[in-house]
Symmetry: C2
């Protein structure tokens, strides 16, 4: 998606060690107009999957998941990383490594909002190693839901997440595929 790639080139920062900072429009400051355009694009690509629910992880997945939900008219569930007092005692919980926090984090979903037979579209900000998305897959499968598609704003293909997710046999769509962050550059896959 050219609009997102252009923005990454303009405002993204290659911090080295494979870290791309997009805090100016995705992760801390959000550009709602860009997120809306990304949501519309995900909706177009995933229009025919029969998804019944969108699943993401707090925090940075929320904006693109919600805008995708607007355009697909689907509810969004965001897995929580800590259990609020409003959540029942019995939950679905898994652990996933957080790239930006440097430790394992919990991903928690209430059985109230993810149920048997649901067709789940996963949307997140990054597809890197795939570890967070695989955590969401485990939660959904534990709930008896079926994954029907996976979308990420930005894919870092050199981290191999796509290969980890391909056995699921569902469409995987990224709006900007980054081939390399070597030598301080940002190189997209054409």
């Amino acid at each position: 998606m050219q609009q997102l790639k252009d923005r990454i080139l303009r405002d993204g920062k290659n911090l080295g060690k494979g870290i791309l900072k997009v805090d100016g429009f995705v992760n801390h400051q959000v550009d709602p107009t860009l997120m809306d355009a990304c949501g519309r694009e995900f909706a177009r690509r995933f229009a025919n999957l029969g998804a019944t629910k969108i699943l993401t992880a707090e925090i940075s997945g929320i904006a693109p998941a919600v805008t995708t939900g607007i355009h697909l008219n689907l509810p969004v569930v965001y897995a929580r990383k800590s259990k609020p007092i409003t959540m029942p005692d019995q939950v679905y919980l898994t652990l996933a490594p957080s790239h930006t926090k440097g430790r394992m984090v919990e991903l928690i979903v209430s059985p109230e909002y993810l149920s048997n037979g649901e067709k789940v579209l996963i949307i997140d900000d990054f597809l890197a190693s795939g570890a967070t998305i695989l955590g969401l897959v485990r939660l959904a499968e534990t709930a008896g839901s079926k994954i029907v598609g996976i979308g990420a704003l930005i894919e870092k293909i050199f981290e191999g997440g796509r290969a980890a997710l391909e056995p699921l046999g569902v469409p995987i769509e990224s709006l900007a595929c980054i081939k390399s962050l070597d030598d301080g550059k940002i190189e997209f896959l054409d």
Copy 2:
């Protein structure tokens, strides 16, 4: 806003002790279509403030802030509760009590995205005691920004937050004002 009040009556749960659970459409599962309607309503009410930025707190403020940002065409900054590795060492930080976590949490904003002279519209999910919103006010004022308005999806007027915010002298708008959660009921202010 009648659409939000109707949804609270249909799907909200009064858990007692002043806690209203809206996890089915705001806090864990999000109804994007409803959030979009709320964003449109905030945009209508705050159209003439000359706001240059929307400020919210992760996590539950993100959805209504982003949809408001779509309709006002403004960037959204969400204060983080932990500092990711992509954030500079020098940040704006304050502490605020979290109602649902039962402890103090940090609210952190990078100086990159909140600057001197910015006109800030604060949007959050709840206005209860006002403590989180006052934390956002402190962050914005430390950055040299000016608060121009405050919006909350749901106000619990019996917690007194409005009185705590009124000295700021800016418009305070809630889309659903709850008068009482006594006796297991949900009573709106008319």
